[in-house]
């Protein structure tokens, strides 16, 4: 009998320009709950994706019961008893609980599906896990926690010996968390090993037996939970130096308020609640928070891409009446969205088109476009932001992620915004391009623009912002001066309303 049911040794994974995993490892004992911790971007998800074959690892070894394995896809992993419950549940909402549990492996009876057997086995599993849900109900009518239980039941029905839970409690109430934990304990008794990914320290100390901490794609330590303190856990997660990663700060935060947000609330879920703050001329305001803290929703609501239910937004003291992107742009707000592919680029159009599209109003006279000016200004974007592209007429999809991001930044610079909302502008781009974007932000602020900068990487927030607003569960958990704070405080604030 092996001591470990799963061993991952020296896993390496490189994306263009980024070392996502560098000697990552994970050793999982049967019948235990193993917490996997680390900041956003530490490589937890990447490690799991390598396990399930969603990414192909560059180097390293994965042993299941001491036997080397390499899964091609999650399906194969499932066949070997390795299963994952994702943070975003992938379920067919229009179908019944029963269908979702058996999806992809319906038992058959000749050429027809054996519903009797499905129902019998599902009921047995539900009983075993003490889940009280009618298997014939449509899954879309259930709550998130119930849907999560069903995912776990699905894993159990596949005879999973390893179940990965990715942030399972991020949208559960306290009593739902209790139920989840009782299910986890039951699974432990049946020798199922659980990899538990979470940011919530209290939970980790309650449910986990062991913890592995990752940072910057590297394994930092693995220890029984009883042998580590909260403080040491946090410091191992965040500790790193950041010298010369950031350009010198030359901007000055002035007293003049450019943007004033008062008690805004979004109309549709996921919505921000009661968000208020002021943004000053020349200021870079960082926004920190965990995944699901609705930072993106906040800036999208300010910009008018999401509908506002309550509250007021003022620019230079004047309240905005119409909350739609077109109006916001006219009033001097720009938004670089988080999802570059989904809401940023026009992939098949050329660089010039992509820079000019938010600014057509100023190029057009009687609806006819002044291409000379657009060409000149696109050239300015390419030169100023050093966009690497063979020409203005190259389709943007052929550029690297960093260069695409610069084109989008350029698009917004051309609208001469007073307030620039940047949602994870440095995500997925290489180190050099990151530095250039930091420099650009500081230069803009030095010229009197105001910037809101959302980031999941705390060092860059601490490196270039003036103040940091921490979001927690859709609310403002606090606004701190960058010079007087540290990662520990930001992490504490981020968990305030969980």
């Amino acid at each position: 009998m092996n001591m470990y049911v799963l061993e991952m040794h020296n896993i390496k994974k490189e994306f263009p320009g980024v070392k996502a995993l560098d000697n990552a490892q994970l050793m999982l004992r049967p019948g235990t709950v193993h917490a996997l911790m680390g900041e956003n971007g530490a490589g937890k998800s990447t490690l799991m994706k390598c396990l399930f074959g969603i990414y192909k690892k560059d180097e390293g070894e994965i042993l299941l019961d001491g036997v080397p394995v390499e899964f091609e896809n999650p399906r194969q992993a499932l066949d070997h008893g390795v299963s994952m419950v994702h943070q975003e549940l992938n379920q067919v909402l229009e179908r019944s609980v029963l269908d979702n549990i058996w999806l992809g492996r319906f038992p058959v009876h000749g050429i027809t599906i054996d519903r009797k057997r499905m129902l019998k086995e599902t009921k047995a599993i539900f009983e075993q896990l003490q889940i009280r849900i009618n298997p014939l109900q449509k899954i879309g009518n259930l709550s998130v926690s119930e849907r999560q239980m069903i995912e776990i039941a699905r894993a159990v029905s596949c005879n999973a010996r390893i179940i990965v839970l990715d942030e399972p409690t991020s949208s559960l109430t306290e009593s739902e968390v209790k139920h989840l934990f009782s299910i986890i304990r039951m699974l432990k008794e049946q020798h199922v090993a659980i990899i538990y990914i979470s940011h919530k320290l209290e939970e980790i100390f309650e449910i986990a037996d062991e913890v592995t901490i990752m940072r910057d794609g590297r394994w930092i330590l693995t220890t029984p939970i009883a042998e580590i303190t909260k403080e040491r856990l946090i410091s191992s997660m965040v500790g790193r130096d950041f010298s010369n990663q950031f350009p010198p700060k030359t901007n000055k935060c002035l007293d003049e308020v450019v943007l004033e947000v008062r008690n805004i609330e979004g109309a549709y879920s996921p919505a921000v609640q009661d968000v208020s703050f002021e943004l000053h001329k020349g200021e870079i305001l960082g926004v920190s928070g965990l995944v699901g803290s609705r930072r993106t929703e906040m800036v999208e609501t300010i910009f008018g891409y999401r509908k506002l239910k309550k509250g007021e937004i003022r620019i230079n003291g004047v309240p905005c009446k119409k909350h739609i992107p077109r109006e916001s742009i006219a009033r001097g707000i720009g938004l670089v969205t988080e999802e570059r592919i989904a809401t940023g680029i026009f992939p098949l159009m050329d660089v010039q088109f992509n820079t000019m599209i938010a600014n057509l109003k100023s190029y057009a006279r009687f609806g006819i476009i002044d291409y000379k000016r657009s060409t000149r200004e696109t050239k300015w974007v390419i030169d100023t932001l050093s966009v690497k592209t063979p020409s203005q007429r190259k389709a943007i999809v052929n550029l690297s992620g960093g260069n695409q991001q610069k084109v989008i930044l350029g698009r917004w610079l051309l609208t001469s915004p007073k307030v620039l909302l940047l949602d994870e502008p440095t995500r997925g781009i290489d180190v050099g391009a990151k530095y250039e974007i930091y420099q650009l932000m500081i230069d803009l602020a030095a010229k009197g623009n105001a910037i809101i900068f959302i980031s999941s990487e705390m060092p860059e927030l601490l490196g270039i912002t003036d103040r940091i607003l921490v979001m927690s569960n859709g609310r403002v958990a606090g606004i701190v001066n960058t010079s007087e704070t540290n990662q520990e405080e930001l992490l504490m604030l981020a968990a305030k309303y969980l």
């Binding site: 910009f303 891409y305 992107p325 077109r326 916001s328 742009i329 006219a330 938004l335 969205t337 989904a342 809401t343 940023g344 680029i345 026009f346 992939p347 098949l348 159009m349 088109f353 000019m356 599209i357 938010a358 057509l360 109003k361 190029y363 057009a364 609806g367 006819i368 476009i369 291409y371 698009r411």
Partner: protein, 337 residues
Amino acid sequence: MSPTMKKIISEFLLKNALYIVMFVLLTIIVMVQPGFLQLQNFYFIITQSSSRIILALGIASIIVLGYTDLSLGRNVGMAAIVSSSLLQAANYSQRIFPDLPPFPIFFPILLVMILCSLFMVVQAFVVSKLKVAPFIASLGFQLIIYGLQSIYIDQLNDSSPIGGLDPKFSNFAQGAIEFSNFRIPFLIIYAFIASVLVWFIWNKTKLGRNMYAIGGNIEAATVSGVNVIFNIFTIYIIAGMMYGFGGALEGARTGSVTNMLGQGYELDAIAACVVGGVSMRGGVGTVPGVVAGVLLFQIINYGLVYIGVNPYVQFIVKGMIIVLAVAIDSQKYVKRR
């Protein structure tokens, strides 16, 4: 052969597969009937293509937006019926409106252009505001318009073809500018003007840029401040005007308008767009592409008739070309992992 060479060749083949197939077909046609390569034939083809070019350009804007329109054919039919019913010769014995005073042909043409635009406005509302899938919405409009025009022609003309058109109206479609021994049909001139106009809108105006933006990435367009609804309405109105004009042309060209005129035109127009490189996913397409698509399609059409291919076989060939065109287009979007 080195792998890179292989890659280049396969990419070239994929990119030009459609033209290669067209070329092969053309070669077969010419081999069977060398007489096909007469100037006269190409003159016919271009003339025949003219109203199709106008209609295809109308629908192409909608396809570039990322939508589609199956009501084109019935819009054309309605425009033909209404315009010709108002433009019958004064001395024709079976006039629908016997007491109608003669007026410039310009008015009925404008009227049907407005009429089609109105239907397209409602359709634009249904697809952009009510979010009904364009396929279904336009299918509904196809039926609604057909019902209305059937009532019109049934009540007023006992469902018999509308004939005896005003010679001025006939001349509007059948006439030509004539130099000594050189003749340019009006049809070609209309198609040329329409092409230039649409090219200008697509490439030089804010409307055109917004159209590509909406078709290319509607969410990014919204974030970039594009007034999505307004632009969709405008494009639909323009398309409606082109349908109306094309319909009047078809009416005047055929000279005897039945209730069946226009049936299936949308499929030919969509096919021509696809063959001309307009992506059914939206955001991609050029005016020269659409014009070339119509011409290529018409050449094959005409050629197959010319060499006497069984008309049923012609359907098969056309169908295969359409599927091939879309298959090639789709290859560009296949996710490679």
